[in-house]
Symmetry: C2
Subunit: 151 residues, 2 copies
C-alpha cells in the first residue's frame, strides 16, 4: 500500500484544484525544489492515484443559466430496462452526468439548460419520455463548493 505524508496530500489537493501548476511553482509553496516536487508527483502518478485531467467549462459564458439535479426512480426494473434507460439518457445533450445509485432513487442526473423555460422543454420532451421512468424529483443548483477530497 502507498505511503503518503502531509506533503503528498497537500500536493494532491493542490492539483485537484488547479492541475495547470508546474512542479516548480508547486514546490515553492512548500519550500521544495523543482526536482524534489517533480519526483513526488511522479511517484503519485505512477501509483495511479491520478485519474483523468479535465477542464471545467464556464457554463455562464456558454449561455447555460440553470443546473438541475434530477433523482429518478424507475417504474420497471431489470437488466434490459436499465440498459435501455442508460442508452436513452446518454443521447440527451443537456445531461452532464449520469449516476447509477442505490437508495431513494435509481438514477441521478445532472442536467443543464439555458434557463427555466429551456429546462422545462428538456424535462418534458426528453427526460419524462425516457423508457421506464417512474418518479422524478428535482433540485435546482444555487451554489456549489468542490473540495479536494478526504485524503
Amino acid at each position: 500500500m502507498l505511503e503518503l505524508d502531509d506533503i503528498d496530500r497537500a500536493l494532491m489537493q493542490a492539483l485537484c484544484v488547479d492541475a495547470t501548476q508546474s512542479a516548480g511553482a508547486l514546490g515553492r509553496a512548500f519550500n521544495l525544489s523543482q526536482p524534489a516536487t517533480w519526483r513526488r508527483i511522479k511517484r503519485l502518478r505512477d501509483a495511479g492515484v491520478f485519474g483523468p485531467r479535465r477542464v471545467d467549462l464556464n457554463l455562464e459564458k456558454l449561455g447555460v443559466g440553470v443546473t438541475v439535479f434530477l433523482g429518478i426512480k424507475l417504474a420497471t426494473k431489470g437488466r434490459v430496462s436499465l440498459e435501455d434507460f442508460e442508452r436513452a439518457v446518454s443521447a440527451i445533450p443537456e445531461v452532464q452526468t449520469v449516476q447509477h445509485v442505490l437508495g431513494v432513487y435509481d438514477y441521478r442526473l445532472r442536467v443543464v439548460a439555458q434557463d427555466l423555460p429551456d429546462f422545462e422543454r428538456v424535462l418534458r420532451r426528453r427526460v419524462m419520455t425516457l423508457p421506464g421512468v417512474g418518479n422524478i424529483e428535482a433540485n435546482v443548483l444555487l451554489s456549489e463548493e468542490r473540495r479536494a477530497g478526504p485524503i
Copy 2:
C-alpha cells in the same frame, strides 16, 4: 456574444474529457494544423469558456471504496443557520462537494469513505450532528458517467 462553430464545440468537448491533449494532437483529429488549432483554443480560453483545470483522484487507489450522496433538509432555516451549516460541513474532510439547492432538499453532499462501516461513522458522528439538520436521505453510488456538457 461568442460565436462557436462545430469545431469549437468538438474541441471543448475533447478537452473536457482529457485536458492533457496538445493542440497538435487535437488538430490532427479534425484535419487542422497545430497553429490553427492552438489559435482556436486560445480564443476559447481568452473568452473565458474554460474554468479551472483539475485532475481527478483515483479514489480506489486511495482506499476509498464508497461514495454516497446525501440529500439534507434543514429543520431550521434562515441566514444564520445556513452559514452555520456551511461552515460546519466544510470542516468534514470526507465531504467532497457541497451543493446548495432548491427543491426537495436544501443541501446535497457528496461524501466518500473507505467502506460502509467507515461511512456509518462519518454519518453518525459528523453529518447527523451538523447544526440545523432535519431530514437526511442517502444514495450510494454504483457507477457514474461524466460527459462533456450540453454545448
